[in-house]
């Protein structure tokens, strides 16, 4: 029968078309399904088209033969088919038997004709969607055939802000910042402070060439009247005096802690001082009581 021959031919070309993509012909276990076909329904659709009739008029029986032949051919070439192709083959074999064997009376199962119609419907539906997608893609599409404004003029937006705040926010802000401020900002009154430099200049000026041990306060009398200045003046003067002793410009002595501090102009000539002059001078005060 030429029909069968044609079927075989189609199946062979199908398989070889697939197999060509697998160059290692001698290799077993070539995978067929993936490339080229979108599953068994796709294969069936290709086969159905080969019948060259309106898909509503295809012979499902012939199609079944073709598919089974396709699977057989694939197996002969030892191509490994994915499971769903085999499931379809099994289902089609079942369909074929239902089509060939007369329908049992009062059977619950669908008749071969119903099954065939269902298959035909699925094929038609798939083909319809394929056509639809092609038609869709052939439309004049935005950005390909049809274009929107190339230089759109943006709508300028006036952003007007509506500010929101509650009275509570304002009061909260006021109270918390006033409070924060009243606690953290301790106003320290600016004090009259004698810098070391000040003290040093005054000492040099006043002690001058006074060679007699003189209480340091005497030199500072004028500056110690103001009680606010007193502590600062004393501290700075004492520090400055030590500095001057170290430099060999002053001698200093104190008999005991909290006793009066005496100073006088240095009795040594400048230049014979060592680096530790200050320390020596301090030691000297003990050996040289008033």
């Amino acid at each position: 029968m030429s029909d069968i021959e044609a079927t075989e031919q189609v199946a062979e070309t199908l398989v070889s078309a697939v197999a060509v993509e697998q160059p290692a012909a001698g290799e077993p276990n070539l995978l067929v399904d993936v490339d080229g076909f979108e599953g068994p329904l796709d294969v069936l659709l290709v086969l159905a088209r080969s019948q060259k009739v309106d898909i509503t008029k295809i012979s499902i029986l012939a199609l079944t033969e073709q598919y089974l032949e396709f699977v057989k051919e694939a197996r002969r070439l030892r191509l490994e088919l994915a499971a769903d192709y085999l499931v379809m083959a099994a289902w089609l074999a079942y369909l074929k038997s239902r089509l060939l064997i007369p329908q049992q009376k009062d059977s619950d199962e669908p008749t071969g004709e119903e099954l065939a119609a269902a298959l035909a419907f699925r094929l038609q539906r798939l083909e319809a969607m394929r056509d639809a997608s092609a038609k869709l893609m052939n439309r004049a599409r935005l950005g390909r055939e049809v274009f929107s404004r190339g230089a759109p003029e943006t709508v300028s937006v006036d952003r007007r802000s509506v500010w929101t705040a509650t009275l509570y926010d304002v009061l909260m802000a006021y109270a918390s910042q006033r409070q924060r401020h009243s606690v953290t900002s301790v106003h320290v009154k600016k004090r009259q402070v004698w810098s070391l430099q000040d003290a040093r200049e005054i000492l040099i000026r006043l002690v001058g060439q006074v060679a007699v041990w003189t209480p340091i306060e005497q030199f500072l009398t004028a500056y110690l009247e103001d009680p606010k200045e007193r502590a600062s003046a004393m501290a700075s003067a004492f520090s400055a005096s030590l500095e001057l002793v170290r430099e060999g410009m002053l001698d200093i002595q104190q008999s005991a802690p909290f006793e009066t501090i005496y100073v006088r102009a240095s009795q040594r000539t400048p230049g014979e001082n060592d680096t530790d002059e200050g320390a020596e001078a301090l030691e000297a005060k003990e050996a040289e009581p008033l």
């Binding site: 979108e38 796709d42 419907f121 394929r130 997608s133 049809v146 404004r149 759109p152």
Partner: protein, 238 residues
Amino acid sequence: MKKPPDLLEAPAADEVNEASEVGEILETERMVEALIFASAEPLSFAELSKRIPGDRDIRGALNRLRAHYRKRGVQLRSSEDRWSFRTAADLSFILHREAVEQRRLSRAALETLAIIAFHQPVTRAEIEDIRGVSTSKGTLDVLLETGWVRMRGRRRTPGRPVTYGTTFDFLDHFGLETIKDLPGLEELKGAGLLDSAIPASFHVPAPDDGIDLTEDEDPLDESEMFATGALEEDAGEK
């Protein structure tokens, strides 16, 4: 020689009215034209109404403008009552330089897009049923990425599968006024090929890309609304 006053004045008054009416009609047309022309994106009728001051016949202006531009190089189009100027399709041959490289969709993606367009709202399982193969994860993601396809909701069936549908961008891209203008829709409907069940059923559904969910759809969860891919759905399959 002097005409009686009633004969003289009556037409004059009419003329003034008419002139100002014509003026307003023309002005409305100009405004609609300017607003739509300025924008690259389609403008909805609602937006137009909001932006055009006063109470004017915007619908009439749109219709007149559409007619006016019908034969020109630029045309006034609408999709779902959103209006845009687009170049005439027959002039594409001189405009190819403006074309931006677009990602080519695989055959599987094209088929899936058509199935979603014609069968929406449709679940992944239904798409697979029509195609006869399982849909690879990437296919739906790619379609979602194009902005032509969206996740609509969840079907009220066991497993609550996500339903897919097309977007406004889909209509705009393919130059469809409504989803009912899908090519070949009527024939397919007539042939019962949009029926999700096997032919015996008499129920012939039409694609529905409406914002509102159909009665067998549930809304997506909040987090899913902003998901870019079909990730939620796929996550369960792993």
